[in-house]
Symmetry: C2
Subunit: 460 residues, 2 copies
């Protein structure tokens, strides 16, 4: 006898949670499609030489390789032929480069699939997790206007997911680079090191960070450090405040081209975000947002839940210069975002933010005695025809037991067909959510349930 | 520069095909849920010792093993710790055994995920493919009545997929076993060998098969072989014919218990299939259907497209005695079916049976000049609010080019906003499917499109 168990680091769900997870996937997919993004799926395994062009040592260490039994047996030197994708960006780059001449640009795609990373074992860290990505890829060029669509998508997705107030935070890498250059921090890797120190503000406090940056290792001027600390603490409080802040930055004495370009991009993005109907409470300038420094080149996004900042960013991304330089000579600039749904789901569940799941099953047709079964099946067929997800009790048992099952499973309507009901061509319906019971003509069952479902979801 | 390419044996789709594929997945999921099946997803990788308990040499040779870089480096003897699932049945067995005390039985689950097999390279053979499975698992026992639900699900799924007339073919392993025992073929492995010969009927003809079975290797009596050949050619032509055939078999002289039991099961299944509203043209008795002989123990199903028999079975399954004997002492009988969707999709496409895909994008909002963009974005926001999947042209270009894009992408409605329209608060809509054009008030755009969409889909 083998003990049934899953590998460490995967999130396997029981049906009620799986239903809740599936509903989140559906909401995300629906909103991605609402904004004109097209579906793409790629194979879980890629050829190792294709997958690992980009990755440095750290990523490589996290890669899972795939070998058939035959390949294992004759395993020689070198890496196995195939590996599991560790994100959806490398497969996108490969896909776009491979199918470049069959795609229309700007190419908008969404992809919602699992990715794999050999993470160290730790609570809340997953080796298999869903990413839900959208990207717009241009050929040769891509207007910054596209950067404005993504916050509108993020807003639509998280509004419908209904997991509380959130803020989409925007910054721009050109603006950051320009500003840091003005403070005498021109070298990109030095900028990265400074930002890493700045990141410790919350934990260690301003004095500690100031001391480090003016100290031996960095040796920055005290007033430059003060300006940096003031800069990274900027958060806009409204649309007008964001625009005013950008104006101030662009007119703050001698400013360089990068800063001016970054300010102009951010301003255009913010104005279009507003034109798309995103309420100003849902977005803000946050000049501390940096994201992957060696990858993003313009707009960057993070999204946080206002009441649960400790969850961190629930949707991040940005603008990049060239998607697929390892696979094609074509220049393919793009902008994209990613939702790590498995981790988000787990965190929401841990925080008690997932409501009690209602089953996908809407109606349970009970069975009082075996002779009734054909009648039960035919009522169920009518309900399904009318679009209701309907389960039939296939083996008669005590009615109380059937009700208990429906209640535990989260099934809202229970249909009872006794001899009296069958003789009168009626059905008795119990609405477990409203704790209500009524009898209707069989012919009117579906339309009655439809009316009930349309009522606001308030408990009696 | 690395050549962008996928591993051999995977099916990667361009967006129009991916949309068609996704629609099939949605139809299948919707119908699985309509019948009260609950969603389950399992990790793509399972622990090797858990996954490979059941499999003999052949399956093992087709397994893909998974190793992180770290594990590769210290690879010792024995199999790698993890492997990719090769079907959804073993993961189901593991899942049900692992979560036995948290599930309600009979447990109805659906699962639609990709599985992996190291198949030899061959056109139309896939190493990664979707399976869409449903199973009902009982604890200790499971009434044969559940066997009747699956043909109803199959009928609902393939009716809505709308890929042509199909027939669900039923047989019963007990009936077969009983019949073969009566012909003096009692040993199960001998039965399997006889069935393998019988399978050659179409290719080699009755004379060849008769000669083989009466010949040295088998040595069956000529009249027994004749009875076997008549038996496996039985196909019912209607519900009444199926029932009459079963009656004839049950009353054909001295019959053994297995045959009587099989006939009784099949009769009950057929009567309930009819009670569930499945039209009798959609199902038939086919006494040649055997399926996996060492696995199925009662009802077995195959489904074929009436006009494309060469595609083979598009949905198969059956009743099994015990799902998870390797993982638990509990007896878990079940009944299930599986659709191999990747292969089916590929075959339908090869046969030219997939219609031209309409995009998921329903409306394209064009842009005549950059100054109009905020206006375009706000019209698009209204359309999305009303539930329309809407793409906005973010960079102005010639209108003809924008129309060409919509046409190629399969987007039905194109919205034009010129200076005149904006001044009059109107929009011009071109319906590319009906080759029709009209102007409406902006406030009535969504309701007008909704009416258009509700019209029957006939080309002008």
């Amino acid at each position: 006898m083998i003990k049934p168990r899953t590998p460490a680091g995967v999130l396997e769900l029981l049906p009620p949670d799986q239903i809740a997870f599936q509903r989140m996937l559906d909401v995300i997919r629906r909103n991605f499609e609402r904004f004109g993004f097209l579906p793409v799926e790629t194979p879980v395994m890629e050829l190792s030489d294709v997958l690992l062009t980009k990755s440095g040592g750290e990523t490589e260490r996290q890669v899972y390789f795939v070998q058939s039994t035959g390949a294992l047996e004759k395993a020689g030197e070198g890496l196995p032929e195939m590996a599991l994708r560790f994100d959806l960006t490398v497969p996108l780059a490969r896909y776009v480069a491979e199918h470049e001449h069959e795609l229309a640009f700007p190419f908008r795609r969404y992809q919602m699939q699992r990715v794999y990373r050999g993470e160290r074992q730790q609570r809340g860290r997953f080796r298999e997790f869903y990413q839900c990505d959208i990207d717009v890829i241009g050929k040769d060029a891509l207007s910054v206007r596209f950067d404005a669509e993504l916050p509108a998508v993020i807003h639509a997705v998280f509004s419908e997911l209904d997991i509380g107030a959130f803020t989409i935070q925007l910054n721009n890498r050109k603006l950051m680079r320009g500003f840091f250059e003005q403070q005498g921090v021109a070298d990109p890797s030095l900028q990265a090191m400074v930002l890493r120190e700045v990141d410790k503000l919350d934990k260690r406090g301003a004095d500690y960070v100031r001391e480090t940056l003016t100290g031996e290792g960095f040796g920055l001027a005290a007033d430059a450090v003060d300006r940096i600390l003031r800069f990274v603490e900027i958060r806009s409080t409204s649309h007008a405040d964001a625009i005013a802040t950008l104006d101030r930055l662009a007119n703050d004495g001698e400013v360089n081209d990068a800063l001016v370009a970054g300010v102009a991009e951010l301003r255009e993005v913010l104005e279009l975000v507003r034109a798309m109907g995103v309420p100003e409470s849902a977005y803000a300038l946050n000049l501390s947002i940096a994201r992957g420094l060696d990858y993003y080149t313009g707009t960057v996004y993070e999204t946080t839940l206002d009441d649960y900042p400790q969850i961190g960013s629930i949707c991040s991304g940005g603008r990049y210069e060239d998607l697929a330089s390892h696979y094609t000579k074509s220049k393919l600039p793009g902008v994209g975002i990613s939702i790590g749904l498995t981790r988000l789901f787990w965190q929401l569940r841990e925080a008690g933010l997932l409501g009690a799941a209602e089953s996908t099953v809407q109606v349970l047709v009970t069975q009082m005695e075996a002779a009734h079964l054909p009648h039960c099946l035919s009522v169920a067929a009518e309900l399904r025809q009318a679009g209701f997800n309907t389960e039939v009790v296939m083996e008669a048992s005590k009615l109380a037991k059937q009700f208990r099952y429906a209640d535990r499973a989260g099934i809202r309507f229970v249909v009872v067909l006794g001899d009296d009901e069958i003789a009168a061509n009626k059905v008795t319906v119990k609405d477990l959510r409203r704790e209500d019971q009524f009898q209707v003509d069989r012919a009117e069952l579906a339309s009655t349930l439809r009316v009930e479902l349309a009522q606001p979801a308030v408990r009696a």
